[in-house]
């Protein structure tokens, strides 16, 4: 069976905004169709129409040439269309097999007892079919993000879905999990599954997709076989402008050591890590997920205690677990890896979100000087080119990239000396990324020491003055700009270049 879905002349308006304008989009069994565009281009709206979450105003959807009606998500499921969301819809307390059979369990012939063995057998058969190494009996709680995503896809496939829509599937995955996902996608193609793949990552798209479609302002601006186009052409149509190749200039950095970490050890997280960071330097820690870098960064910010070794900052040794309030007072700032969990305050205005760390400095006689706060906030918004209608706007209405810029803009005060960034560009579009890279460079030029954790190797190479690779909590090697060897770094991260001491 060679299924295909064709969406023809799809139109959708929200009040005065034309979200989709006469869009044609097809997906064919056995192919990956990449859908790209900046935030707000209409990708999500188009997929919501396909998934029955919202209703189109114009156009038809055809399954193998026959018009079909998709009025609700249940209709999409009936026709074999499955959406894999970024937020996992799995139940942590249940096993892989239980989750996959949730709602349509198998019973032991006519009794009300579950046939666990048969369910596990069928799940295993599917996993084997796609060459995946997962235990159907392990609780979902123990799986990492990549494995959870695989379980979601397997569940969809076992409910007779033939079209899988994946929205930014690699945004939370390590390099290792990405490779496994791509392998899985290739196997699915061979098995006749159709995939719609929403992503910003050009190498991924050109690695696995047959067809690429670019949307801009609710319209299709390019739809080509990947073999007939190039990464540069796709980026150009996506933004309407060509991005310059950014080459980091070589600069001299002071000898003024801001942060000195010696022999830092914390059971199960990191072992015997030493490095220093000078004023104006951008130091990037990189590795695979689980390399221990986020835990290290949190220890420096005073969030954890119970480590051995010393952290010296501005020449004095820090007390373990002294708390973020002391860190902020001493001129440290941190942008956390999870914006929504501990980065923003969704219910509050942009102004409150930016101004919080500054409040004491804008206070006279116990009262906040509103004019001063306003000036700081206006400057922060301008310097980060954050797009917001006004400082009164609640932050939750902003796009991911703009939220992330707000998380940066709070720290742009002249008292900042050390900025710690955990995955600074996770899940944001290419323009917001460019702004964030610019801000980081400007801060370093001003003399701020910047400590970054990043899992994206291209970002690491583009930003860093110095790179330290980590593997399972141990530092493997150190590289200085411009002597970066990407292949060797990747090998370090994968554990291929362990220092002799680690084997002992």
């Amino acid at each position: 069976m060679n299924n295909r879905i064709d969406m023809k002349g799809i139109g959708k308006s929200f009040f005065a905004t034309r979200a989709l304008d006469n869009v044609d989009f097809s997906s064919v069994a056995g192919e990956v169709h990449a859908l790209v565009g900046l935030n707000g281009a209409g990708k999500s709206t188009l997929m919501k129409v396909l998934g029955g979450v919202i209703q189109r105003d114009q156009g038809v959807i055809e399954l193998n040439g026959q018009p079909i009606e998709i009025a609700a998500p249940v209709d999409a499921t009936k026709h074999g269309v499955a959406m894999i969301h970024q937020e996992y819809s799995l139940i942590n307390e249940l096993t892989v097999a239980d989750n996959i059979f949730l709602g349509r369990e198998l019973f032991i012939g006519g009794t009300p007892f579950l046939n666990k063995r048969e369910m596990a057998r069928r799940v295993r058969a599917q996993l084997d079919r796609f060459g995946l190494d997962l235990d159907p009996a392990s609780p979902v709680r123990d799986l990492n993000s990549g494995e959870k995503q695989i379980v979601e896809i397997i569940r969809a496939l076992m409910s007779d879905s033939w079209l899988i829509v994946m929205d930014e599937p690699t945004s939370a995955l390590s390099e290792e999990d990405k490779e496994r996902l791509f392998g899985f996608i290739r196997r699915m193609k061979a098995e006749g599954v159709a995939i719609i793949y929403i992503s910003h990552h050009m190498p991924e798209i050109f690695g696995i997709a047959e067809q690429v479609t670019v949307m801009r302002d609710g319209k299709i601006v390019l739809s080509e076989r990947t073999s007939n186009t190039t990464e540069a052409a796709v980026i150009k149509t996506m933004t309407g402008t060509e991005l310059d190749d950014f080459v980091k200039p070589v600069k001299t950095i002071s000898d003024d050591v801001l942060l000195d970490v010696r022999g830092l050890t914390h059971a199960h997280a990191y072992q015997d890590v030493s490095f220093d960071l000078r004023r104006g330097e951008i130091l990037v820690l990189t590795g695979l997920r689980g390399c221990g870098a986020p835990e290290l960064a949190k220890a420096i910010f005073g969030l954890t205690s119970g480590y051995e070794g010393t952290i010296s900052y501005r020449g004095t040794t820090l007390r373990p677990g002294r708390g973020p309030a002391a860190a902020v007072r001493d001129g440290m700032g941190m942008v956390t890896e999870n914006r929504d969990k501990n980065g923003i305050m969704a219910a509050l205005s942009v102004r409150d979100n930016i101004a919080l760390p500054f409040l004491e400095k804008a206070t006279r006689g116990g009262l906040i000087n509103a004019a001063k706060v306003e000036a700081v906030v206006a400057k922060a918004i301008r310097e980060t080119s954050t797009k917001t209608s006004s400082p009164d706007q609640e932050i939750r209405f902003l796009s991911g990239g703009n939220k992330q810029k707000i998380c940066f803009s709070r720290w742009l005060d002249e008292d900042l000396e050390l900025l710690i960034l955990l995955e600074p560009t996770r899940g944001i579009d290419v323009h917001a990324k460019a702004d964030i890279y610019r801000i980081i460079e400007e801060l370093a030029t001003r003399g701020v020491g910047v400590l970054i954790l990043s899992y994206e190797i291209d970002e690491v190479i583009m930003l860093a003055d110095r790179v330290i690779t980590l593997y399972q909590g141990r530092s493997v090697a150190s590289y200085s700009h411009p002597d970066f060897d990407k292949d060797k770094m990747l090998a370090d991260m994968a554990g291929a270049n362990l220092p002799a001491a680690a084997h002992a």
């Binding site: 219910a347 509050l348 919080l356 760390p357 409040l359 906040i368 917001t388």
Partner: protein, 326 residues
């Protein structure tokens, strides 16, 4: 129809006008309820009755303002009603043993603050559920009040102690301008000081507030202490109003305060709300309850109506907040 209608109001404007709209609706309902009850009972609109009404809800104003701070952090304080009885007991006993009214005021406020601080430490520092902790102190403070009073009321005749709750200037009870002063002071605290911003931060996202070095765990302790101190202040007003200290005073006060605060637009989920809304919420709620009394509604039905009002406003809050989450 002019052609200058602006379409696509930005989300920020929508949020502000949403709040303003809510206050306008509340003000409209206050007018409507007043007119309705004055038609049903000509006494409702008399200056005397307005004085009585305002005096009867003075305590609710004070407690609800404290409750607003608490609910802005996403918490709840069930102990305020019992705390009014306990703090009143401490104040009255101090007054009768020392004969000093200022000392009585001070100990009443400190006693209320003590219960609040206990709440705050368990909730803010030890991260226990606000509902469970204040449910415990709700019983605890009432028990202490019964012990202090030995379960009977104590008459108070000291004019200084009774002044705040009992005196009127013409038809205006002294306590009304006092409540207004407290409102102004708390507004300055909430909108113009770093502490006030920390209240919103702790409620909107405790984890973020922590990482930003705002010490939300410390803010929470002070917020519950503030709620307790206002309960202590309310105790002084309560004693003044009835010229005696009673172990069962403040009964169901937490219920009325929570209803009024939610009615005034403060979100149950924290981070959203203003003191002005609480003032309007208390006024509307007070007018409805007072009106029910004046129109001679069966007291059993009054409780039923209160319950229905709370269910209604909670439902409304959940609807409006769900809309915002999208």
């Amino acid at each position: 129809m002019t052609s200058t209608v602006t379409v696509n109001p930005t989300a920020a404007k929508a949020a502000i006008s949403g709040l303003t709209l809510r206050y306008l609706v509340l003000a409209g309902l206050i007018v409507l309820a007043s007119v309705g009850f004055s038609l049903a009972n000509e006494n409702f609109y008399s200056l005397v009755n307005i004085g009585i009404l305002l005096r009867s809800i003075a305590v609710l104003f004070l407690v609800s303002m404290g409750m607003t701070f608490v609910m802005l952090t996403g918490g709840i304080d069930l102990s305020v009603g019992s705390n009014v009885a306990f703090a009143g007991g401490v104040g009255v006993i101090t007054l009768t043993t020392t004969g000093s009214a200022p000392l009585g005021f001070l100990t009443a406020i400190l006693a209320g603050m003590a219960i609040g601080t206990i709440n705050g430490i368990f909730i803010g520092r030890l991260k226990l559920s606000a509902f469970m902790v204040t449910l415990a102190t709700f019983a605890l403070a009432r028990g202490l009040a019964l012990v202090i009073y030995d379960a009977t009321s104590i008459n108070v005749s000291d004019p200084t102690f009774l002044w705040l709750g009992g005196t009127s200037w013409g038809n205006i009870p002294v306590v009304i301008p006092f409540v207004f002063c407290v409102f102004v002071a708390l507004s300055v605290l909430l909108y113009r000081t770093p502490f006030g911003r920390n209240v919103y931060a702790a409620g909107a996202n405790f984890n973020t507030a922590f990482v930003l070095g705002r010490r939300p765990e410390r803010s929470v302790v002070w917020i519950y202490a503030l709620s307790g101190a206002l309960a202590g202040l309310s105790a002084i007003v309560t004693v003044g109003r009835v010229s005696s200290g009673q172990p069962w005073s403040g009964l169901y006060l937490e219920f009325d305060a929570i209803t009024a605060v939610i009615l005034g637009g403060t979100s149950l989920f924290g981070g959203r709300g203003r003191l002005l809304g609480t003032i309007l919420g208390v006024l509307l709620y007070g007018i409805i309850i007072n009106g029910l009394v004046l129109t001679g509604t069966n007291p059993y039905l009054q409780s039923l109506i209160k319950g229905m009002i709370l269910l209604g406003v909670v439902l409304l809050d959940s609807w409006t907040q769900r809309g915002k989450a999208a």
